[in-house]
Structures are given as structure tokens and as C-alpha cells.
């Protein structure tokens, strides 16, 4: 299968760099898969799980928002935060969610909508995490 170059960078580190076969990206307007030879796209991403397929194995990485760019050179994801699923501290993640729930009351108007949306994304990540843990 054809491969392409994929870089995942967060402000604090280069989280992934290498040749991959497929990457599934959680875009703001829906998930999309990127294969070699994908048309050039710039897409904003929502907090979610990014799946990297390389050499037949899959790796899941949690990204909390950012930007994906596909060009002829490959795919670059600028993630706000990128944590591999194994490294994620689940208790801390749950704490972050409950902290957000508490803070909801402080927001209002369109900011409230955004906060709720972000909370939903976080909750769906948590849901997917607990689902994979059972397998």
C-alpha cells in the first residue's frame, strides 16, 4: 500500500513523524481519512481521537483541537495537545471534564455554546476510551 509522510506536532514537542498508510482525522465538520495522494486540504480539527495506520498496526492519539494540512508533501497536524492513548492519565482527563462542567455556569451566550460543544467532544473521547478498554 502506498505511504505518505505524516507529522504530528504540538507546541511542546514533535509527537509523531514518519511514513504512514492512513490517518483518520477528527475534523470540525466530520471525520475524514487521509490516504496517499489526497487532495490539498486545510481543515480545523476538534478534540477527538486520531488514528494512524502504519505497517498494518494502528496507533491512536488524542488531539485536543488544532489544524490539519494536506499538501503534496504529506499531512501535517498542528495539534493543541497530542497524547498517545497509552500515556493518557484517565483520572486527570475525568477531572478536566468535571472542571469544565463546573465552569459551564460562568459562560454565557455564544461562549456557552462553544463550551458545551467542547465538553461534548471531551465526553465522546472519554466514551470511546472506556469502550476500547472493554475489548
Amino acid at each position: 500500500m502506498a505511504t505518505f509522510h505524516f507529522d504530528l506536532v504540538s507546541p511542546e514537542q514533535l509527537a509523531f513523524s514518519g511514513e504512514v498508510e492512513q490517518v483518520d482525522v477528527p475534523g470540525i465538520e466530520g471525520d475524514f481519512g487521509v490516504l496517499a495522494g489526497h487532495a490539498p486540504v486545510v481543515a480545523a480539527i476538534r478534540p477527538g481521537i486520531l488514528t494512524v495506520t502504519a505497517g498494518g498496526t494502528q496507533q491512536k492519539i488524542i488531539v485536543l483541537g488544532g489544524l490539519a494540512e494536506v499538501s503534496e508533501k504529506g499531512l501535517t497536524v498542528l495539534a493543541d495537545v497530542a497524547t498517545s492513548i497509552q500515556d493518557l492519565d484517565r483520572a486527570q482527563f475525568a477531572d478536566a471534564i468535571s472542571a469544565m462542567e463546573e465552569k459551564l455556569a460562568e459562560h454565557e451566550g455564544s461562549e456557552l455554546d462553544r463550551a458545551i460543544e467542547r465538553l461534548d467532544h471531551f465526553k465522546s473521547i472519554q466514551h470511546q476510551l472506556s469502550a476500547t478498554a472493554m475489548h
Partner: protein
Amino acid sequence: MASLKDMRVRIASTKATQKITKAMQMVAASKLRRAQGAAEAARPYAEKMDAVISNIASAAAGSPGAPALLAGTGTDQVHLFLVCTGERGLSGAFNSSIVRLARERALALMNQGKEVKFFCVGRKGFEQLRRTFERQIIDNVELRSVRQLGFVNAEDIARKIIARYEAGEFDVCTLFYSRFKSVISQIPTAQQIIPLVVEAPAANAGPATAYEYEPEEDEILNGLLPRNLAVQIFRALLENNASFYGAQMSAMDNATRNAGDMIRKQTLIYNRTRQAMITKELIEIISGAEAL
């Protein structure tokens, strides 16, 4: 003339100082390694960010609806200087060279009739600027309690700056920090961050790739510009941190060497004086014996 005991005390105190500076040098060296690693780890993100933003922004810059962070306010009457310095001293000319650059720029602008405001990050810069520009300092962030610089710190600063920009408090924002070139060379640098300076794409790069945008182009750009500001500040803070430890290391190396020279000189004088006293006592004894 100082007594022998005074001289012994002085030599001991110089030795104690030398031990401290030596220890500080070694601590700075190990911290420098970590700071340098952090600065290098942040580089790919900042570079990719630059590439993406210049791609999108060069298309949007000319259009009338361009966001204010990119297009500016149309004037350059009020300048904001974001001066990033260290929290601690004992680092040679590190802090003062950043402050000097900011001060020179500020005076030049004020001579042209512009208004300059300061936003200080780091205690040392704040203390030095307060002497000359007390009234013009509008905010001051201390990173004293921060053990490990995170992106969050930069985001906080960026948020404050954007809020002030949107409130119309300034037109142009310039970032001052020290670029880390090597352990012995740190270059104070000024970089304009609002409005963003977009490098024109190189002429030989061929036609720009026609991207699909998801969501719309301006929406992405609106989200990206504040982020880019935070990234630039974060990069400056990391470079500053590495520069600080580099400067501290060489300053402490110098101090240790100077202390060594001083100890050698003091020991020489001490030994000479001691010898002279012995000789004097001998002469006294001999002439006393002869007189009998």
C-alpha cells in the same frame, strides 16, 4: 596593615564565594541542556505554523475583510512593547541587553511623536524599565512560580494582549526577547507580532497549492491568528530561557575564574607577610641575644 588573621578570613570567604559560583555554573549548565531541548522541541510546530499561516494569510492580507490581527488598525500611533526578560539576575548582561534594546527603540519612537506602552514579562525587565518608564508600563507578568514553562503560560499572555488590542489600546505590538544562538552568544531581538508580518512566498516556489478549506478560509484564519501569537510568545519564552541559562553559565564561569585569581593573589600577600613577620621576630631574638 591587615593582620594575618584578617587575611586568612578574607581568603576563606573568597573560597566560599568561588564554591557558590562554581555550583551555580554547573546548575546553569544542566538546566541549559533541558531548556535548549525544550526550545528545539518547540521549533517544528512554530515552523509548520509559519508555513501554513503564510500560505493562507498571503491570500487574505489584501482583501478588505482581513482580520485586524493581520491587517492592523491602519495607523501606528501607539506601540506596545512586550519585553520578555528573566526572573533572576546573576546572568551577566542578559537582562540589561534586552532592556537596552527596548529602551532605545522606545526613545526613537517617542522622538517621532509616537506613544509607547510596555508589557513586561519577567521581574528583572520590569524593575529596570520602571526606573525610566514607570507610567507607561501597563501590565507585568511574573513567571517566578512557574517551574516548567508550558504553552499555557504563553496562551495567558497572548489572551491579555489580544484583549487589549481589541479594546483599541495599541496599534502595533513588538516582542523583545533574546535569541539563543550559542552558549556564549545570545542576541537581543525585536519582532513585530501585531499586525503579523507575513513573508511573501518565495517567487520560485511555483504556484501556491490550491487548498480546500474546511470550514471556510477566514474562519480558519480567525482561529489561527491568536494561536500563532501564542506560539510566537511561547517560542520567545523558550529561547529566552535557554539564553538566560547560557548567559548565567558564562557569567558564573567568569566569576569562578576571577575568584581563583583573587585567591592566588591574596595567598601570595598572606605568605609574604607571614614570612616578613617571622624574619622580624628572628631579628628581634638575635639582637636581644647579642645585647646580653
